[in-house]
Amino acid sequence: MKLHEYQSKQIFSNYGIPIPSGRVAANAADAKQIAEELGGHVVIKSQILVGGRGKAGGIRLAKSPQQAEDLATKILGMEIKGLPVRKILVDEAASIETEIYLGITNDRSERKPVMMASSAGGVEIEQIAKETPDKIVKVHIDPLLGLRDYHVRDMAAGIDLPREHWRTFGQIGRGLWQAYLRSDATLAEINPLVITSQNRLLALDGKMVLDDNALFRHPDLAEMRDVDVEPKAETEARKYSLSFIKLDGYIGCMVNGAGLAMATMDIIKLHGGKPANFLDIGGGASSEKVAAALRIILSDANVKAVLFNIFGGITRGDEVARGILAALREVKTNVPMITRLVGTNAEEGRRILSEANMITAETLVDAAKKAISAAQGGEQV
């Protein structure tokens, strides 16, 4: 789960990281008010969960409260990469001498958190890694021991940080580690961490991504979710504990198992079709779950056929078949359904479905071809 800049910075501040004075606003009048409080020289920053805000004109400098209000009006009306700007952060403007990158993320292949710093801050870390990888200093953190003080000193030395700033940098590094650890983050990043003309260290931007699996133990953080950034169907799916990702094709998929669901999408593409979604219905195909999943899939007007691919292990094929039929009684639609059932009682399940005039298939390839054909209006039962 991604957090907005203002949310990330608030958390950083709670752990002793210096951030600019500023507040979030949802309208231009408030922006003007905040600008007045901050002395007039402010930066108006759109709060959206995609990169490239600056390039899209979503980060602007204001020299007066009135200009702040004007810019706020403009930015609050914007859409950046398809996302509406609903909030802006009004921060006191800082004069920047040096930009540093400091971040912590999970190194999957080392199975440890890794802290990275670079004196080439202000640019995306992936870009630094590509263009000047020797400018990144990395230290892997033992997850059982946590960040050691000497790790942060090594980072400071590695980026040639002036010694007068080492103590504050240490506080910031330790604060960032605590923020990452105590929020169950998968990323906690300050880019840029600046040295201002007043010779202060300041976290000018903040970014955090939280582990979805850990939100159960952070109800306060879970509440911060911004649902604007995902299609409505994905928000709806979460309510039913369905794993759902919207794609831009026309063949809806309902599968039990994430790997199998990905393989189903792949096979559709292999035979010339385009999957409309990824959906893992998980274990058990109760009619309520199937109905909820079907409604979510059919909420996409592009869907011209729906492919059910269910491997019955513990879940029995005949139960699945009855679940699908019950769901179809609730969710009335003319979109053709193709069901491929394998495993326990699959034959019985297929029989129940063909008696109800549904298209059935035995192999995955057969199912994909039938779905594509049905979507193109070809398959008649």
């Binding site: 794993s243 393989a263 593409k269």
Partner: protein
């Protein structure tokens, strides 16, 4: 023969009185697995499944009383890390964790702790292991495979079942099938299992089922080139997965261009692995050896 689980496995079920634990214990027992004990804190002294399996309050007590050597964990995500530590500290050398949804920082700590103690974890977020005819440790349906000479290792659940079943339909059986799970941080990797299959005299061929996310398939490819004599056939799911999105499994995500299906397929093909274009093709490719 087999790897890791067989008729000598003395199995403990952690979370045995929960819905999942009880249901799957019944199936494991019916399959012939030697389920010796269960643990649910607070329910020590009870018996489940009409007196078939004794329940203990802790893994330590169960281990002392019954000599279990393997544990399978059906404990909810919020308590699963603790259950793994408990099994490790009680001296269980093979721990299989079925649970999905364990926080990734928990798993980093768990993995690093287990590595220090030399204890093997399989999973989490996995279906477990199946050695046909001998032991079923986890939730892989017992009737979809039969004893044979193919070793199967996979990050998936039902996709693995597809492949096992397809192999069975053409008369091909397995030595052991092991699900390593769909999480980003897990206990046993492809390389670990490939090494075990290479050393197992009864495994002649290997099937590897991977998916997007991470670089374990790429590392496996290097390992195959350097260490394997036995042929490997693979399928990699997620060629159509969009970047930056978690496709169900916590570990199934393409991040900053890393972990794409295409990269994995290329890495494997470059070292001579036959990569199927769809799961049903695996059986055909195996027949070529």
């Amino acid at each position: 023969m087999s790897i890791l689980v067989d008729k000598n496995t003395r199995l403990l079920v952690q979370g045995i009185t929960g819905n999942e634990g009880l249901f799957h214990t019944q199936h494991m027992l019916a399959y012939g697995t030697n389920v010796v004990a269960g643990v649910t804190p607070g329910k020590g002294g009870e018996w489940v499944l009409e007196g078939k399996v004794p329940v203990f309050d802790s893994v330590r007590i169960a281990h002392e009383a019954t000599g279990v050597n393997t544990s399978v964990i059906f404990v909810p995500a919020r308590f699963a890390a603790d259950a793994i530590y408990e099994a490790a500290d009680a001296g269980i050398l093979l721990i299989v964790c079925i649970t999905e949804g364990i926080p990734v920082q928990d798993m980093m700590r768990v993995r690093n702790y287990l590595d220090q103690k030399g204890i093997r974890l399989v999973g989490p977020n996995c279906p477990g292991l199946l050695t046909p005819g001998e032991a079923k440790v986890g939730i892989i349906p017992g009737d979809i495979s039969m004893p044979g000479n193919i070793g199967v290792v996979s990050r998936s659940g039902t996709l693995t079942y597809e492949v096992l079943y397809a192999l069975k339909l053409v008369g091909l059986g397995t030595t052991t099938c092991i699900g390593i799970g769909g999480d980003p941080i897990y206990g046993t990797s492809f390389i670990d299992v490939l090494g075990m299959f290479e050393a197992d005299p009864h495994t002649d061929k290997i099937v590897l089922i991977g998916e997007i996310g991470g670089t374990d398939e790429e590392k496996a490819a290097e390992f195959i080139a350097d260490h394997l004599t036995k042929p490997v056939t693979a399928f990699i799911a997620g060629q159509t997965a969009p970047p930056g999105k978690r496709m169900g499994h916590a570990g199934a995500i393409v991040e900053s261009g890393s972990g794409t299906a295409a990269d994995k397929i290329n890495a494997l093909q470059d070292v001579g692995v036959q990569v199927a274009s769809h799961p049903e093709e695996i059986a055909e490719l195996l027949a070529l050896f």
